[in-house]
Symmetry: C2
Subunit: 174 residues, 2 copies
């Protein structure tokens, strides 16, 4: 390859970068979204598969157990609904299945008989501890090529994204 053609190649690359940048500026939000969607779909399919096979559980169920695990006194169903972003009506069905499996119990609150509090049973705590441990290992495995600095960086930056989205959503609620 002659010096001349190398120059041309270099120019072409520069141009490409410039064009990319120009095209960027726009649509970065969209591209970031599509990338997150693709990653979460890929990973969650695998996680769901393993949860189903090894624990006969689903991701929304895991999510509920996780919320209850860190709230030893349990949570009202309404609060559980808010935290898991699952509607009230659907929380009932999820809780039904978890209760049938003996992982949670529902208790009516003394003092306000409208309120129901869900808690983990002993078996629920034990089962969730196993699930969480396995889950953590799976994630470590699935992200084994990503170095700690990158993880920490992306994690912190995504907080901005999360806050932006939740702010937009709350503000558009009318």
């Amino acid at each position: 390859m002659s010096d001349n053609s190398l120059d041309l190649a270099t120019q072409a690359v520069d141009l490409e970068i410039i064009v990319d940048r120009a095209r960027d500026g726009q649509k970065l939000q969209l591209r970031l979204w599509l990338r997150m969607l693709s990653i979460t779909k890929m990973i969650s399919q695998e996680i769901r598969r393993r949860l189903r096979i090894e624990f006969q559980a689903t991701l929304p169920q895991f999510d509920i157990l996780a919320q209850l695990y860190r709230e030893r006194d349990g949570l009202r169903l309404g609060e559980l609904s808010r935290r898991t972003m699952v509607t009230n009506g659907n929380i009932t069905g999820l809780a039904d299945r978890l209760e049938a499996d003996g992982l949670i119990v529902r208790e009516i609150l003394d003092g306000d008989r409208r309120v129901t509090v869900a808690k983990l049973t002993k078996q629920g705590r034990e089962t969730f501890a196993e699930m969480a441990s396995a889950h953590e290992g799976w994630l470590r495995e699935l992200m084994s090529d990503v170095d700690q600095d990158t993880l920490a960086l992306v994690l912190s930056q995504l907080a901005t994204v999360k806050n932006s989205a939740s702010r937009s959503l709350v503000e558009s609620e009318d």
Copy 2:
């Protein structure tokens, strides 16, 4: 929202950060995953809501249309299945609905009658162009607080995550 509840929200965020820091070091993969999951759930619920209301469409359907939009000659159903991470059997059902809506057509390939190629119809192209434009606007809105540098940075770093996950998944296929 009253000033009081705003303060409580701010306190909750601060507490989360402190607890996050304390727990750091370990489990970065898990925490990154949970954060991505929470963000994508939040955003995708809103996107799905708007797609349904404004276009009577779902996210998987949008995904299929997007793949076909950029492949003017259409795609085999098997390739569509691979790209959208939807099983072959379920692609059939999705394609049925899109075809019933007049957005795509299925054609048997000359030369190999086992193969079916899906393409956008004229109406499909027009409809998708509108959907994509609206979709881009929604994302810009939902991430309006995130600056361009952060977007670009996270976008590029997530490529690593994506590659790591897909490599792990492929390797564990046996």
